[in-house]
Each structure stands twice: as structure tokens, then as C-alpha cells.
Amino acid sequence: MSERGTTSWYGPLDPAPDAGWTEAPPRKGFFTDTSICIGCKACEVACKEWNAVPEDGLLMLGSSYDNTGALGASTWRHVAFIEQPKALGPQEAGFAGTAAGPPGSDVLNRTADSALTGDRTALGTDSSRLEVGPAGLGAVDLGMPSMTLPGSVDGAQRTDFRWLMASDVCKHCTHAGCLDVCPTGALFRTEFGTVVVQDDICNGCGYCVPACPFGVIDRRAGEKGVTKNAGIAQKCTLCYDRLGDGLQPACAKACPTTSIQFGDLDELRERAEKRVEQMHAQGIPSARLYGEDPCDGVGGVGAFFLLLDEPEVYGLPPDPVVTTRDLPAMWKKAALAAATMLAGAVAVFVGGGS
């Protein structure tokens, strides 16, 4: 098991053999290609269903179509949803500079008509043209309730925009802070190179929670005996049970666009490199991989991503480093401080006086 062998604290390595597994299978992981994520949240649902993760609130967050918010003890997949006033590469939404209006309003119907018929000059404030109206497609008012106060944004200008969607998950780091700090051995390295909590060992000390540089793992709230695994640290297991039976994790299985790809990490990295090259060739220079580098601050992750913007836009740290890297230096300082205290204590007695 993970307690066996001497594990290295930092730098590139293959984690399963490093943890003492002999004849470990190739390291498994996820490549999440966010450029083809459609934000359907099937991964969130599949994960909850397969792993029997309890409900964790049904609130509206009011920030975007993401009402999950963040990864947590009862959220092992989280689909981020970001709306930005930017164009996605050469793609044009075709609405930049056009008039804005509430859904179902005349001004918006005319805008949509004009965009569809290509009659760009009919848009905006040219009221004489608007009175005439665009020929062809007439948008029909279905009498649907509008999302905003009628007329509240009339006259405003629409901007270019894009939607970014990304399914976040535990990174299964090569150097996992959570696993390093776990004082019970409840967190362990599996033969697949993943990091999993043993529910019957964890005593809920909570140390793994602040140790994770990605803010993934959390202690599950709730009453013992009422909520499953209450008081215990919980996170994605990369469906350890399914992997053992030769199946792929539930989220990857449920993903309708293959945004979540499961496989051998080496193969996934090759595939991802090709995908980035392809996207750059298509005129999307912002496409970049996140977490695939085995020499990064966490030794590379098992679940890496293709992103279309800076990591922090998705709520990811731009340059994560496992805290264990600095631990040898910390132990040295602590030893020096302890020696200082001991010397001070000797001095106050030897120093004479009353």
C-alpha cells in the first residue's frame, strides 16, 4: 500500500511505482477538452448517481448558468460556465454593436431578423429603416414572459461574447498535497496512479482541505448516521471501483461530446498536444494545456485540461505548487526555532539572578 516504500517529495515521477506498487498498470487519467464542452452537466449527474454522492443544495447562485459553484465534498465534477465580452478566435457571434432589447421585444425581433437576412444596415438607431422592417423572416411573438423589465435595456449596444464551459474535477496530482498531509493513511495512491480516500479510515481531521492547491477536497458536513460519510473528507475517486472492473469513469462515459476523455495518461497527453496544434492552426491561439507538464509545481496532474483562457478565469490557480516542496525548508526552520527555545530556556536559568 501507499505507506510502503520511500516516496519522493517533489519533481517528475510515476506515482504508482513511487508509492510502492509493483507491476502497476499504466497511469490513468482524464483529458478534459473544454473547447468542446457544451455545459450540459451530464458528468455532474452521472458522478452523483454512480458514486451515490448526496444532494448539496439546490440554490440559484445568480452569477451564470453554473449553479453548482465549485468542487466540494459532495460535488466531484463541477461544470464552470463563463460569459465573456470576447470573440472566440475567428468565430463571430454577429451581434457586436447591434441594439439590445428584452427577449420578445420588437427591437430584438428586428435585430434577429436582420442578422439572419444579413441586412446589417437595418440595425441600430436607424429608425426609418426599422419602420420599414426587414424583408423575409418575420420573428413571431410567442407571448413568452421576458427575462428583464420590458424596455429596460432598449437602446443599449450588444457586445461580442463567448461562452466558456469547463468540467472541473480532482486533478489526481503526481505530488498530491492532500495525500502528503493525511495523518491517518486514509488517502492513498492507487495502482492507477490516482488518489483515493478510504471512507472507513478517514477521521475527518480536515488537513487535506487547506493542503490542496486546487481547492478540490472538502470534509462533508452533516449528521453522522443521517448523511453518508458525514465528517469525512470526500472527493473524486476517478471511479476506482469502475476502473478495477475495466470500465471508464461515469463522467467520461456520460459525456456526450467527448470533452471528458479517459485513458492512459501518456496517450492522452499526445492526443492533447495534437488538439492544441489543431486549434492554433484554426486561429484560436488562446488554446493551451493546463496541468500536463510533469515538471510543473505538482509534478503534473492525472486529470489535465485544454483551456481557452487563463486558468484563473475558470477558478484554477495559474501556477499551483504542492506545499510539500517547501516542507524540508519548513522542518529546518522549525528545528532551528526549537533549538532557539531550548537554548533560551537554559540561558534563563544559567543567566543567574533570582
Binding site: T7, P12, D56, G57, L61, S63, T68, G69, A70, S74, T75, I82, E83, Q84, P85, V181, C182, P183, T184, C202, N203, C205, V209, P210, C212, P213, G215, I217, R219, A221, G222, E223, K224, T227, A230, D293, G297, G299, D309, E312, G315, P317, P318, D319, T323, L327, M330, W331, K333, A334, L336, A337, A338, T340, M341, G344, A345, V348, F349, G353
Partner: protein
């Protein structure tokens, strides 16, 4: 500990830092929050006490976040943990004082130290077990020994230290036993074992006082981690000041000289290194000045400084002066532990303290690489 709201959904309201980040900026998608001297943190934190004179520690920084949400998670720890930081420090310093008193013939100081260590340790244990999500599984800590886990290292140090400190304290009970027991085997064990136990405990004690700094620093909480070069010295200083203060309070003035000197040395070390620590931390020092944590840190500095002055001026002259100075030092130490604890938690809840230092690092030297 279990009243923390469930799951991710409730993190918004529970994270004031994140709310502020949104509040100071365009709340639009992936808002770019502009922070600095005009930021909401200062406005909100400003209750008219010393806030306005403060200069921003770094130039205004721009950063992006996912709707102002935290990147890293705050520890699910309640006040049991800072209480333990304080009590463990008192216990460790008290063990040192009692061992020295034992060797130099100061029975009253020895007794104070041994009881102080035992009480501090016992309360520490209660706090540590209470804070677990599953307290009934506390003994799972003894399954493994891991140098990568400061909590595991601390567990084993306490396992070694606890019985020693308890045996040393038990020796003090010998005179109170009925004559038959006092002169029997139990009495002999207590009498003979107290000194070696107390001396061994004193050798382990400084490590108990300093490792708790590593416990906090070995995390991704920005303020705790950025403090890692200085925090062990701040904590041993704080432990010395607190245990010296306790020694002064519970020991006659004539015997309390070493306690006064330990308190003075510890308090000066704590104040000096804490000052240097803040200067070295850049933007991550901000949570040490803001909100509740800032109030605790200011209280800590004032109490510790008052304790130093009191100890130096009246600590050796009057019992009342020793009591007041000792109490100020103990309170100052407690405020420091709670202040550092809360500052770290606040730094985790505000994405600014995770994103900005990492961005600065990237701009200075590119991504962190191990090879």
C-alpha cells in the same frame, strides 16, 4: 464544527473575502477585480481605528477570478485549532520552566510548570479530538507515521511527550497521598520518576512549540504558507512568553526570575520576528491587518508589549504587577494564535491572495518547474 454549510453552494455567503472581490469590481462574468488603496476591503475593514493611516503594502493589483470564488479552500477547522496552538505552546514552555526549576531548586516554579504543562496538554487533547469530523476515530492517527504530514509528526511527538509530562505532574501529587500510598511502590515510582520524566519532556517540548507553525504553513492557505520562514520563531516566542507569563502568575516573585526572563525573551522574539515576517510576505500579509484577524493581531501586539513593559518594570517587585503582566502575556499569545489562524483562513477565502502572488511569480520567472 459540523455547522459548516454543506457543499459548494453555500460557500458564497460564507466567504466574505469572495463577496468583497465581487463588490469592488464589475460583477460581470469572470470579473476583473481591481484592488488596492481604493478597494472595498479597506473600506469595509475601516472602522476608524488606525485603518486610514495604513499604506497599501503593494501597488494596486489586478486579477481575474471565477465570479470572485475562492481558488483554494479554507480549513474546516473551528476555534479548537488556534486554542490548541496556544495551549500546546503554554504546555511546552511550562515543561521547560519546570525542568529548569527542578534542577536549580525552585519547587514552586517546578510545580507551576508541571501542572501548567499537564493542564495545557489535557485541554489540547480535548481540542484536537473535538475538532475531528469523526472524533471516535482519533486513534486512526496512530496507524501511520509520515514525515510529509506535520499532523502525523505532531501526533507522535505528543504521544511521546504526553505520558512524560503527565508522570512529571503526578510526582507533584506525592505529598498529598495518604502516608501508606506515599511510602509504597506507587509513591516511590512517582517520586523517582518525576525528574527523569520531566527532563525528557523538556527536551521534546520545544519541538511541540515549533511544529505547530509547520502545521499551518504546510498548506495552500496563502498567508500561512507565505509565513513559513518566520512562523516557527514567532510561535516559539509566543509559547515562551505565554508560559513565562503563567510562571510569573502562579509562582512567588522571589522564585519566578527564570519565568520573567523567559517571558521577556520570548515576547521580544515574537514581536521582532512577526514584524519581519509581515515585511517579507508581500500581499499575503494583508489578511493579518484586515477584519477580525487584524483586530486580534493588533490586540496581540498591544498586550504582549504591555506584558513586556510590565514584566520589566514591576514583575520582580510586586505580586500584583507579576499577575497583571503575566495575564497580558498569556492573552497576547492567545490573540496571536487566533489572529494568525483567522488571517490564513481569510486568505484562503479570497481568490486575490492565491491568484496575485502566483501571477507575480509567473511574470518574474515563468511557470514553476522542478527540472
Amino acid at each position: 464544527m459540523n455547522d459548516r454549510p454543506a457543499g459548494a453552494l453555500d460557500e458564497g455567503p460564507a466567504t466574505p473575502g469572495a463577496a468583497e472581490a465581487v463588490g469592488t469590481s464589475d460583477p460581470g462574468p469572470a470579473a476583473t477585480a481591481v484592488v488596492g488603496s481604493g478597494g472595498g476591503r479597506r473600506r469595509k475593514g475601516g472602522r476608524g481605528r488606525g485603518e486610514r493611516g495604513e499604506q497599501p503594502m503593494v501597488p494596486p493589483a489586478e486579477f481575474t477570478s471565477y465570479y470572485g470564488r475562492p481558488v483554494v479552500k479554507a480549513a474546516p477547522w473551528e476555534h479548537d485549532i488556534p486554542a490548541y496552538l496556544f495551549l500546546g505552546g503554554v504546555a511546552a514552555g511550562s515543561s521547560l520552566l519546570s525542568a529548569g526549576a527542578d534542577l536549580t531548586g525552585r519547587p514552586a516554579l517546578r510545580r507551576t510548570g508541571r501542572f501548567g504543562a499537564l493542564v495545557g496538554l489535557a485541554l489540547s487533547m480535548i481540542a484536537l479530538v473535538r475538532d475531528l469530523g469523526r472524533p471516535e476515530r482519533f486513534h486512526h492517527m496512530l496507524r501511520v507515521a509520515k514525515p510529509t504530514s506535520p499532523m502525523s509528526v505532531g501526533t507522535w511527538m505528543l504521544t511521546l511527550y504526553g505520558p512524560l509530562a503527565a508522570l512529571a505532574a503526578a510526582g507533584e501529587l506525592r505529598p498529598f497521598l495518604p502516608p501508606r500510598l506515599r511510602d509504597g511502590r506507587l509513591g516511590r515510582v512517582l517520586g523517582g520518576g518525576a525528574r527523569p520524566a520531566g527532563l525528557t519532556a523538556a527536551v521534546v517540548a520545544p519541538a511541540i512549540a515549533s511544529y505547530t507553525a509547520v502545521l499551518l504553513s504546510n498548506t495552500a492557505a496563502p498567508t500561512w504558507h507565505a509565513a513559513h520562514r518566520h512562523l516557527p520563531f514567532v510561535f516559539v516566542g509566543s509559547a515562551s512568553a505565554a508560559s513565562g507569563g503563567l510562571g510569573m502568575m502562579a509562582t512567588p516573585v522571589s522564585e519566578a526570575g527564570p519565568a520573567r526572563r523567559l517571558a521577556l525573551g520570548g515576547a521580544v522574539l515574537e514581536l521582532a520576528v512577526e514584524h519581519r515576517m509581515e515585511a517579507a510576505m508581500g500581499i499575503t500579509a494583508e489578511p493579518l491587518h484586515a477584519g477580525h484577524a487584524g483586530m486580534l493581531m493588533r490586540a496581540s501586539k498591544a498586550l504582549t508589549a504591555a506584558g513586556v513593559v510590565g514584566t520589566a518594570l514591576v514583575g520582580s517587585r510586586s505580586r500584583a504587577g507579576a499577575l497583571a503582566s503575566g495575564a497580558a502575556l498569556l492573552a497576547g499569545s492567545a490573540c496571536l494564535r487566533f489572529g494568525v489562524f483567522e488571517a490564513g483562513q481569510a486568505s484562503a477565502r479570497d481568490p486575490k491572495y492565491t491568484v496575485v502572488p502566483q501571477r507575480e511569480r509567473l511574470e518574474r520567472g515563468g511557470p514553476t518547474r522542478s527540472a
